[in-house]
């Protein structure tokens, strides 16, 4: 990774849909360079993916909830992850270290559907405990401030 790569990432963080031609002009390199480097950064996992942000209140959701799950001992923790990865409205699952083992972020349509989700997670044999918080945040998938992270090149 070099300065050009970093600048491409910075431009895409301003707008992930910006045409390569425009980025090329901005950075004074050829569009082909941008294209090749973008592809490479995706292959290497430097860029994970791009997505649009959505106001979830406009698509029928009231908020979000964070499920904090503790795995049961002597059970395969992957069972929890795999099950959560399939559940309706659960759009992000993270393995965590700390007070609990898994964090799942879900959109909340209404109380009934959320209660059902919690019941379904509780019913998993690999889950010993579930806590949750509900937030009224309407941003999907994350707040735009994620794109304003101060990025730096790693020291060689």
């Amino acid at each position: 990774m070099d300065k050009v790569d970093l600048n491409i990432v910075k431009e895409l963080k301003k707008s992930a849909e910006m045409p390569f031609l425009k980025i090329a002009k901005q950075l004074g390199v050829s569009p082909k360079t941008i294209q090749t480097r973008y592809k490479k950064m995706k292959e290497k996992g430097i860029i994970h993916h791009s997505t649009i942000s959505i106001d979830i209140s406009k698509i029928g959701y009231q908020g979000k909830a964070y499920l904090m799950i503790t795995n049961a001992p002597n059970q395969d923790p992957n069972l929890t992850i795999n099950a959560l990865n399939q559940m309706q409205d659960v759009f992000l699952v993270a393995e965590t270290l700390g007070e609990f083992d898994v964090l799942a972020i879900t959109l909340v349509r209404d109380v009934e559907s959320f209660a059902k989700l919690v019941q379904d997670v509780k019913a998993l044999p690999s889950v010993s405990q579930i806590n949750f918080v509900i937030v009224t945040d309407k941003s999907f998938p994350v707040d735009k401030s994620y794109d304003r992270l101060p990025l730096k090149l790693p020291k060689p």
């Binding site: 707008s15 649009i52 964090l103």
Partner: protein
């Protein structure tokens, strides 16, 4: 405005990849690229699509630790604690929450030292009863799980620019 099946198809493809070629979407919907372009603009103007996000591997950019911070505290101390978090780490999002914690924050930090300082200083802050930090290791994105169905977007869902325009007109 109404969100119909075609809008849902467009949203799904753009959620999967914000750089999806509009022509590819057009082909998939048997519509012209121009028609898709108009629909995307309409979704933006109605405030359904609010922007884009580029997910990167923060570790490769000198940001080693991603974590969730849950805090129980006196409500009056919320703004001060939020500023305290900002002082030691990069605060992506903070929310007042219902349930286990009173506020819930997502942070990214350069190193462990920053997180230790953050934890110590928040713990010491008046009105804070409890702080719990959970570090993220592996993350899975499952956007396909989101249930999209035809929807009516309420009139108050007009874009900010339109709203501003209206306010200007009133003046």
């Amino acid at each position: 405005m109404e969100i119909d099946e075609i809008d849902i198809k467009i949203l799904r493809m753009l959620i999967k990849d914000a750089r999806t070629n509009l022509r590819a979407i057009a082909k998939d919907c048997s519509l012209s690229a121009n028609a898709i372009h108009k629909r995307v603009n309409r979704l933006k103007a109605a405030g359904v699509i609010t922007g884009t996000i580029l997910f990167i591997n923060p570790e490769l950019f000198g940001l080693k630790h991603s974590a969730t911070v849950g805090i129980n505290l006196e409500p009056s101390e919320e703004p001060k604690v939020a500023n305290l978090i900002r002082k030691y780490a990069y605060l992506i999002h903070i929310d007042r929450s219902l349930g286990k914690y009173d506020i819930c924050a997502f942070i990214i930090a350069k190193n462990m030292k920053q997180i230790e300082m953050l934890k110590e200083n928040i713990r010491k802050h008046t009105g804070v009863r409890r702080i719990a930090i959970n570090f993220w290791s592996k993350t899975y994105f499952n956007y396909r799980n989101i249930g999209l169905k035809p929807e009516r977007v309420e009139p108050h869902g007009q874009s900010r620019s339109k709203h501003r325009k209206r306010i200007k007109e009133k003046r």
